[in-house]
């Protein structure tokens, strides 16, 4: 927990409308709770009194003053979910996790919360695990959802999952294929690009399976670093036109022979990507 991190978050929002809440939201997203040290720093930097900041931090349900678990399970208790027995689902989670709603398991793995409405009322009861939605949940599904949460919700099995498929990509500048037939990842030829970050310059090979995040690299790129991508043939930068909707880093793009553009976020660790089949025409 570094002071600079907090300071950069504070600096980003200070001048904006709703600045204080945005600052707290970002700290909450980053650390999953609001550390005392951070709130004191916010008071010092923004000129808001600590009493007011603490008041805001305890007023809104989003904020937590206690560290949350690695995984967040939110059970919707909106009216539509309630009439379809969501309270039983909450109870089942509480029994199985041996905690009450609002608490975190002693091993720090799972935090269970109830939320007022997630806006998917026609499909209630709704449960959201780390951003992944489960619909029409009943008591019997709870055990499996917990297992899923513990295992990591976006874990995919590249061998059997039919949502995963190989794609071919080429450089938008020289049109040569970026597929490296001599280097296999996930059992398929990999995508080879050159990256640079800091003063390092080296190759990175990505899985060509859409939906797999497997990657091998010449130099270990630290998490959260934004790297520049280049074509290994013509050395042109694979810059894109848009920014990542999840983290705001630039997206890089590569062509898909046959039509379409693949956008990948240039930030290491960010899993945002988009396969736009008709993007080339715009």
């Amino acid at each position: 927990m570094k002071e600079e991190n907090f300071l950069s978050i504070i600096g980003k929002h200070q001048a904006h409308l709703g600045g204080l809440i945005s600052i707290l939201e970002d700290i909450q997203t980053e650390y999953s709770y609001l550390p005392e040290q951070a709130l004191r720093l916010v008071a010092q930097e923004t000129g808001f009194s600590l009493v007011d900041i603490y008041g805001v931090a305890t007023f809104y349900k989003l904020f937590s003053l206690k560290p949350r678990g690695k995984h967040l399970i939110s059970v919707c208790s909106g009216t539509a979910c309630h009439v379809r027995a969501s309270s039983g689902v909450v109870e089942e989670f509480e029994q199985r996790l041996q905690i009450n709603a609002g608490e975190t398991t002693p091993d720090g793995e799972i935090t269970l919360v109830t939320v007022n409405c997630l806006g998917a009322c026609a499909l209630g009861p709704i449960v959201v695990v780390d951003g992944y939605y489960f619909s029409n949940v009943n008591r019997q599904m709870v055990g499996e959802i917990i297992d899923n949460a513990r295992a990591g919700i976006d874990r995919v099995d590249v061998d059997t999952d039919e949502r995963i498929f190989p794609i071919e990509v080429s450089c938008p500048h020289c049109n040569r294929s970026l597929i490296d037939k001599n280097f296999y990842i996930d059992g398929y030829p990999s995508i080879r690009v050159t990256v640079s970050f800091g003063r390092r310059h080296g190759w990175v090979r990505l899985s060509c399976l859409y939906g797999s995040y497997s990657v091998e690299q010449e130099y270990e790129v630290p998490i959260d670093t934004i790297v520049d991508f280049f074509c290994p043939h013509c050395h042109a930068e694979l810059s894109g036109v848009s920014d990542c909707t999840s983290c705001g880093a630039p997206m890089i793009s590569a062509f898909i022979p046959g039509g379409g553009v693949l956008h990948i976020c240039s930030r290491r660790g960010c899993k945002a990507h988009m396969l736009d089949l008709h993007g080339a025409s715009l």
Partner: protein, 616 residues
């Protein structure tokens, strides 16, 4: 994206996009709003992309990812244009087949929607009763637009009403159109939008004015705003720019609740694209008019849907409402004049300008013009978003669109207006849904939640549920709201436990009236509605709890017992499901519930396939 520098620039771009677009190309439309994703739309998208690439169809078949289309019960669904074929509850294997059939311009007959009444298959979306009985002026736009691409919106006449307004160059005309259209605020109270704009326009413009889009849809059970923001963010943005032009507002804010990550994502993209194209920011389309919109995220507080609390929240403070007057339109964000409208209200603005005020006013009834989106949820056969002209009867919405009850149950009420609303009993289902009729019936329109309740829903439990909600969500400033909701909950809890008395019922009624009278903001003033309306229409259920110690709907745990009847074949499903080890019995023999261990969680009943568990 190239920045547009004049209205002509925009028009030539629009006509170019529209001529380039060939509507005859078969297009697979996959709605992927939050609810669609919850039921697996993302998987369908991947499979569709895989198949299109694999079969080299990317040139012949188009794929469009859109926001929610409203038939949530049948999600994930797929629509094929231009035929209008609708496939409900599509699985990944079916998706692959659909791609194959679309490429051949054929219909995959065995996966079509089947009418449960007639058993016949219905191919086209617009022929399905759920869709046929609606008037979808706002929602129909969702299926046409990929919200991630502004050009897709422009291709569908998007921003052309803005261009029209700019050409007209008469802000008063816009306000007048909105007034003549008779549009009333869709957030709940139904204040005439044109009038609100006029107030704002008349405020001195010394230090700036604000327009706010209230997307803090806190009403549990309502999600039309989420759907509109996810599916058609530019519609709202266009409405706001028109509003700003009419009222002279200099800044805009969209306040979205944090529980809607996808809506936030789509809005961020839409705002960025609108800025890049030159439809937001300085000197929009070369007209000299400047306006920009900020996105402010809520942090989870129902009370922030109240105007003055929302303003405080936008300013970064706790969401405590304040005394009105002064009204926000006099003193709002940072003390500047501010007009706040709901998402759906903003989405109606381009429609009014496009159709013309008089045409718009013809939809619905007098004093209640236009359409209204309801989220029809709960115990109806077909749940989802329903858009109907104002003044449509509840019966039509629940039975003709929603398909009536699930199974053999009997529908006994609908709850409208969320925690601020009330329950309307089935014998009043002939009343038209408009602001005035609903409030006469003791409920409110609210943002449009419509929760269907059948005879398995206990009205005492519903009132208790809302009080539990409100005692948490009250900001806590007004003593009567904070303590009143707690005390009402306490009494309702006593009643649901079977220790209620008739004196308490009397006290509950008195208290409810005082809470309604003495609190400051809309949340408190309507907090008693769930109690008062259930007392008004379902007093006999309260009396059953108090006098007979009985919960007629089999919900209140303290008053019910679970037992196993002779239908039991000893399959042991319930025995395994019971976490309390309260069920005993040998395989293939009648099972037995030990009442001393039973916590009445209902797990046994939910697994029993033979209807062998009685609740009395």
């Amino acid at each position: 994206m190239k920045r547009l520098r004049s209205i002509e620039d925009f028009e030539s771009l629009q006509s170019r996009i529209m001529t380039d677009h060939d509507a005859a190309v078969p297009t697979i439309v996959i709605p992927a709003g939050t609810c669609c994703q919850a039921s697996g739309a993302n998987d369908l998208i991947r499979v569709a992309k895989r198949e299109l690439l694999d079969k080299k169809l990317t040139d012949t078949v188009r794929l469009r990812i859109t926001g929610c289309q409203g038939f949530c019960q049948m999600e994930p669904s797929v629509l094929v244009e231009p035929r209008g074929t609708f496939y409900p509850k599509v699985g990944m294997k079916t998706m692959a087949r659909i791609v194959e059939y679309v490429a051949r311009d054929e219909v995959l007959a065995d996966e079509l929607f089947m009418s449960p009444d007639t058993g016949e298959q219905i191919e086209r979306q617009e022929d399905i009763p759920f869709f046929r009985n609606q008037v979808r002026t706002i929602l129909s736009r969702n299926e046409k637009i990929d919200p991630l691409f502004i050009y897709d919106y422009i291709n569908n006449q998007g921003y052309s009403t803005l261009a029209k307004v700019f050409k007209m160059a008469d802000p008063d005309w816009v306000i007048n159109e909105v007034k003549v259209a008779g549009l009333r605020g869709r957030g709940g109270a139904g204040f005439p939008t044109g009038l609100k704009w006029e107030f704002l326009a008349n405020q001195a413009n010394g230090h700036g004015k604000f327009l706010v889009c209230n997307a803090d849809e806190g009403d549990p059970g309502a999600y039309m705003d989420r759907s509109v923001l996810e599916g058609n963010p530019h519609g709202v943005i266009e409405g706001m720019i028109i509003g700003a032009y009419a009222t002279g507002a200099t800044g805009g804010v969209i306040y979205v609740r944090n529980e809607y990550p996808l809506a936030i994502k789509h809005l961020i993209i839409a705002l960025r694209q609108a800025r890049e194209v030159g439809l937001l920011g300085e000197n929009i389309l070369g007209t000299g008019f400047s306006f920009d919109i900020n996105l402010v995220k809520g942090a989870g507080a129902f009370v922030c849907g109240e105007e003055t609390a929302l303003i405080r929240s936008i300013e970064g403070k706790t969401g405590e409402p304040r005394q009105r007057p002064p009204f926000p339109v006099q003193k709002g964000i940072e003390g500047k004049p501010t007009a706040i409208n709901n998402v759906e209200t903003w989405a109606n603005i381009p429609i009014i300008i496009e159709k013309g005020a008089h045409e718009f006013a013809k939809i619905g009834t007098e004093n209640n013009s236009g359409t209204k989106i309801f989220s029809l949820v709960g115990k109806a056969k077909y749940t989802g978003l329903v858009e109907v002209p104002m003044g449509t009867t509840i019966k039509r919405i629940v039975y003709e669109i929603g398909g009536g009850p699930v199974g053999d149950a009997r529908i006994k009420a609908v709850q409208t207006g969320g925690p601020s609303g009330g329950c309307i009993p089935a014998d009043l289902f002939d009343i038209p849904v408009d602001y005035d009729s609903l409030s006469k019936a003791g409920s409110i329109m609210g943002s449009g939640g419509m929760i269907v309740m059948d005879d398995n829903t206990c009205m005492v439990d519903i009132a208790k549920y809302f009080m539990n909600f409100l005692k948490d969500e009250s900001c806590g400033k007004c003593f009567t709201c904070r303590k009143g909701t707690q005390r009402m909950y306490e009494i309702l809890d006593d009643i649901s436990q079977g220790h209620g008395t008739l004196e308490q019922l009397q006290l509950l009624e008195e208290l409810a009236q005082v809470v309604k009278d003495t609190t400051m903001c809309g949340l408190g003033q309507t907090a008693s509605n769930p109690v008062l309306s259930t007392l008004r229409y379902f007093r006999e259920e309260y009396l059953a709890h108090i006098q007979d110690q009985r919960c007629p709907s089999g919900v209140c745990r303290a008053l019910i017992t679970y037992s196993i009847n002779e239908k039991c074949k000893g399959c042991q499903l319930c025995l395994d499901a019971c976490q309390q080890d309260a069920i005993s019995g040998k395989k293939k023999e009648l099972h037995f519930i030990d009442q001393s261990k039973c916590i009445k969680c209902g797990a046994c009943k939910s697994v029993c396939k033979l209807d062998a568990i009685d609740v009395v």
